[in-house]
């Protein structure tokens, strides 16, 4: 055994190291006191959540010395953020205790078993009465329980640079009433200055949910069409409205009324629109969200004090001006608790601390959210911070919500694929719509679809 023994010892040592490596990977929390891991997005101009949670961590830890808050800022574009968050949620060792969760992912993540129902906790939280009902709806799972506490909501409309429009002979109170008028305005801007991008509508996979929601659904829901028939609980396939919406995308991207497809397919284009193109007068009209001023405020990523003078807003018209004349989409973000958290009570306590009235007000102002707490909405500082609040709040009357089903997240991907093939000329709107139909049938089964 002269040979084998020492070698065996070395071997055993290596095996031990291997085993240790496997063991050492568990939760990073200490045993004494709770560790709460918060996952959120931090990307480009969107630093408001990062700043908020950094302050929450400092303040909460000072008040509760036995609690450690671990911040996990996920530096990824929106689409990649969902991927990374799902990758984390999938494994118990990495699943966050508390996460910044888009409302449209809630139902899907509930079914995946990632989220904890909050009803018992909410029952004992006085502030919950301050939340408007519509916002509460967004945090519901298919089982009717609440899984997310909303941070804010939003609407979408047309932002335009008045200076650019003036050069094209368009008025300061420009307000298109049909798609054609919108296209005419874009053509006029292009004619007045070919170097200016007339109209930005997000499209394609890299922009992820922004393409589906700010882009496609703002069109589709203005045609009278829909993605999902609520009464029959079926997904709509083969609809002319779907093709019409893709045709709009095709028109602007092939006529040069939109950014070049390469610009539009840069995952960073959202930052570029708000921080560069609009302030620098390189873009005329942007179909975008109510949160845009968050970038331009004094403590935003690209302060632009003149924005209140230069930027105008208009509602997105319906296709032919049909009733109600305008269209908007609403979403929003919530705070949710991971199903696997070891300290649900502490996690909920951190959650309520992070979005108490003061923090909710701060987040609503800094990130230009439409407040979901009545006590926040009534604060004078909230209305003063952003003169477009009344305009975007009024859009709530014509707003739509994304289909509240767990399949939506994946169907949204199919929409982005269809948009990208149309904007790049790989497929005609009809072809892309047919591929979409097939994808939907593949995802939900033919029995859950209905012909539009």
């Amino acid at each position: 055994m002269r040979l084998a023994r020492p070698l065996a010892a070395g071997t055993a040592a290596s095996a031990l190291v291997l085993a240790l490596g496997a063991c050492g990977s568990g939760s990073s929390g200490g045993d004494d006191g709770a560790t709460i891991k918060i996952a959120y997005q931090k990307f480009g101009n969107f630093t408001q959540a990062d700043e908020l949670f950094k302050d929450v961590k400092a303040a909460y830890e000072a008040d509760n010395p036995d609690v450690t808050i671990e911040l996990v800022p996920i530096e990824a574009s929106q689409n990649d953020y969902f991927t990374k968050l799902a990758l984390m949620n999938r494994s118990p060792s990495t699943a966050p205790d508390l996460m910044y969760e888009d409302t449209f992912m809630i139902k899907s993540d509930v079914e995946a078993g990632y989220l904890l129902p909050l009803d018992d906790h909410l029952a004992g939280w006085d502030d919950w009465d301050q939340f408007v009902d519509q916002a509460k709806q967004a945090g519901l799972g298919d089982d009717g329980k609440t899984y997310g506490v909303p941070l804010g909501t939003d609407t979408r409309g047309l932002w335009f640079n008045k200076e650019v429009l003036a050069k094209a002979g368009l008025p300061e109170d420009w307000a298109p009433t049909t798609w054609d008028e919108l296209l005419e305005a874009a053509r006029a801007i292009k004619a007045a200055d070919p170097d200016v991008i007339p109209l930005n509508v997000y499209s394609g996979k890299p922009m992820g949910e922004a393409s589906s929601m700010q882009g496609f659904e703002m069109l589709l829901y203005g045609t009278g069409g829909t993605l999902y028939d609520v009464e029959s609980s079926r997904w709509v396939v083969g609809s002319q409205e779907f093709v019409d919406s893709l045709e709009f995308i095709e028109t602007i991207y092939t006529e040069g009324l939109a950014p070049t497809p390469q610009q539009a397919l840069d995952p960073n284009v959202g930052n570029t629109v708000s921080a560069e193109w609009l302030p620098q007068g390189k873009l005329g009209i942007a179909l975008d969200g109510s949160w845009m001023p968050g970038t331009w405020l004094d403590d935003g990523a690209a302060p632009w004090p003149e924005w209140t003078e230069v930027m105008g807003t208009a509602a997105m018209p319906t296709q032919h001006g049909q009733e109600p004349g305008a269209v908007s989409m609403s979403g929003g973000w919530t705070m949710a608790i991971g199903a696997g958290t070891e300290n649900p009570d502490v996690a909920f306590d951190v959650l309520t601390y992070a979005i108490d009235k003061e923090n909710a007000l701060r987040f609503a102002i800094e990130n230009s959210q439409i407040a979901v707490r009545t006590d926040v909405a009534e604060e004078p500082s909230y209305a003063e911070a952003n003169p477009t609040v009344p305009f975007f709040s009024d859009l709530v009357e014509v707003t739509h919500f994304r289909p509240a089903t767990s399949d939506y997240a994946q169907i949204s991907n199919a929409i982005q694929v269809a948009m990208e093939s149309v904007m790049t000329g790989q497929q005609s709107p009809e072809e892309a719509a047919a591929v979409y139909d097939e994808a939907v049938i593949g995802l939900v089964g033919e029995e859950n679809t209905t012909a539009g």
Partner: protein, 311 residues
């Protein structure tokens, strides 16, 4: 053969070739007859040089962009001599959060991968090199086969496996995975280096009553020290440059190596802060380039080893 990183090759190829490149064919060239029957050797020679210079320029341009843009106060995507030379790009990215922590993570990951790989492959190579066993051939075939599988391009099942093993977002887990994927190549290399240490030296030790482990440690390893350094450095460079593996397996920013953090930087600021991206790229690349220079020196001496022992 899973990556295009340097070390992904069965390295002896690279090592041997690396030596050859520094003096390609010089030994034979001198013996070439002075007159060549083909048209005009001088113009052919000139043509070769001109073609090479052109090729060199093509290779230089993309590389030159990184160097020049990193020093350019207003860098663009096109290569150009900076009007305004500055180190501001470097100082802007040289913060702990942006650069040093990710580089430290890269170091831990790469050094760990290198160490585990070297230890495991030395242990494995010894019996493979020293004993004639029926087991050897199938094992070496399996290793060769493993070298060729695109494991590191199949991060989807690897991710699922890591979820199941509860190793996701674990630096040790990722290190062991990277070590395992570089093992087949490292075992080939190490065994090859070990084969070149004459067994006669060990036989002397055995007659003195030393165990196999002792001779491995006292006789074999010292003689193949340069070879081990070559293996270690190649595995290190491979791990240092790997993006896809940590991109999928490490999720917490504070654990991510430079490859991943530089990608996040590219995604967020890549279309605005070209100079900083280039400066960060320089900082991240320098260790790999420096180590490569070191290994090409070492591999020279490592090949000289066989001759020295023979003599």
């Amino acid at each position: 053969m899973a990556q295009t990183t340097p070390a992904a090759s069965p390295v002896p190829v690279g090592v041997g070739a690396g030596v050859a490149v520094s003096t390609p064919g010089t030994a034979h060239r001198r013996r070439r007859p002075p007159s060549v029957a083909s048209s005009d050797p001088r113009s052919a020679r000139l043509l070769s040089n001109v073609v090479l210079v052109v090729v060199g320029l093509c290779f230089l341009l993309p590389l030159g962009w990184i160097v020049l843009a990193s020093l350019d106060a207003s860098a663009t995507l096109a290569v150009r001599v900076p009007e305004d030379v500055t180190f501001a790009n470097y100082s802007a990215v040289m913060t702990p959060e942006q650069t040093w922590v990710p580089l430290a993570n890269s170091f831990v990951l790469s050094a760990g991968t290198g160490l585990i790989t070297v230890v495991a492959s030395v242990l494995a190579a010894y019996p493979l090199s020293r004993y004639r066993m029926r087991f050897n051939k199938p094992f070496m075939y399996a290793v060769l086969f493993g070298t060729c599988l695109p494991i590191t391009a199949m991060m989807v099942p690897v991710y699922s496996l890591f979820v199941r093993l509860n190793l996701l977002d674990s630096l040790p887990g990722t290190t062991f995975f990277m070590a395992a994927t570089s093992l087949p190549m490292a075992i080939w290399m190490t065994k090859n280096f070990m084969d070149s240490v004459p067994i006669s030296l060990e036989e002397a030790a055995w007659t003195d009553g030393a165990s196999a482990m002792t001779t491995l440690r006292r006789v074999v390893l010292p003689l193949m020290r340069p070879g081990l350094a070559v293996v270690f450095i190649f595995v290190f460079i491979q791990a240092w440059g790997n993006f896809f593996v940590p991109f999928v397996l490490l999720l917490t920013p504070e654990k991510q190596p430079a490859a991943v953090s530089i990608f996040a930087f590219f995604g967020q600021y890549g279309s605005v802060a070209y100079g900083q991206l280039a400066a960060y790229s320089m900082l991240y690349s320098l260790p790999a380039v420096a180590l490569y220079v070191l290994v090409s020196r070492l591999s020279g001496s490592s090949f000289a080893l066989a001759g020295a022992v023979k003599g």
